[in-house]
């Protein structure tokens, strides 16, 4: 407790977490149904064709970008609630954000490669 008053910047991530949640509702439903159907019973060619359709690719892109950001913001709330030691909290938050950025980068690049017809 440093008694410095409010940081005056807490509202934007609170709103972003919920706005991203709204954006994720249609795209994640579409993606999880498609993902599980493909993983359970279809071959690679079918999966590639499915992701090459602009609708699937668009929902996939939104799921990757908005999903990793939503996860980072949600984890920030959890970490700020339960991890009180700054020596752990700050490196932990940096690690979570880096992990999310890495997942998003790999996901977007892979999706572009598939969409371009690899």
């Amino acid at each position: 407790m440093k008694n410095l008053g409010s940081a005056k910047s807490g509202v934007a991530p609170w709103i972003a977490l919920r706005a991203l949640a709204l954006a994720l509702i249609p795209s994640t439903i579409y993606m999880i149904v498609g993902f599980l159907s493909n993983v359970v019973g279809k071959d690679r060619e079918t999966a590639l064709l499915w992701l090459q359709s602009p609708i699937s690719a668009a929902f996939c892109l939104i799921t990757i970008v908005a999903g990793t950001r939503h996860f980072a913001l949600g984890m920030q709330v959890v970490v700020e609630d339960y991890v009180h030691d700054e020596n752990i909290r700050i490196p932990l938050m940096i690690a979570i954000r880096f992990f999310c950025l890495l997942m998003a980068a790999i996901g977007v690049l892979s999706l572009f490669k598939i969409f371009a017809g690899a």
Partner: protein, 133 residues
């Protein structure tokens, strides 16, 4: 008592989890956070699937070998339930944030609806994945 020993004694902290009787609303709230954290692993699996698709046929068959193992299927089942639960409960929380349905009776009603809804959606997704539905 203003001696230093009394001051250094840790103060009691709410909400006293040891003596706190769990009720539906608090359990659902904890579950929402837990499932949200678990979905990080789900996101990892999803990104791994897309990356494996992009890398090539050999990597994809390795991914499918893992996904189709019993452990992989259990993991995916858990992730799918976590997803639908986090989805339904997330919508419920968005409604709460907009200041609707905040009375206790409605909170319990929507709570049970979320549990039933996520179980149904998980079952429907797996039946569709296996071509039954």
């Amino acid at each position: 008592m203003h001696n230093s020993a009394a001051r250094n004694k840790p103060r009691p902290m709410s909400p006293h989890l040891q003596i706190y009787r769990p009720q539906l609303t608090s359990v659902l709230s904890v579950l929402h956070r837990g499932c949200g954290m678990g979905l990080g692993a789900g996101a990892f699996a999803f990104i791994a699937w897309i990356a494996a698709l992009a890398i090539g046929a050999e990597t994809y068959s390795l991914f499918m070998y893992c996904a189709k193992s019993i452990l992989g299927q259990l993991f995916l089942f858990g992730i799918s339930f976590s997803f639908f639960y986090h989805l339904c409960c997330g919508i419920r929380h968005l409604v709460f944030d907009a200041c609707f349905c905040l009375d206790i009776k409605t909170a319990y009603l929507t709570g049970y609806a979320v549990l039933a809804g996520s179980a149904l959606m998980t079952a429907a997704t797996w039946l569709k994945a296996y071509g039954v539905l």
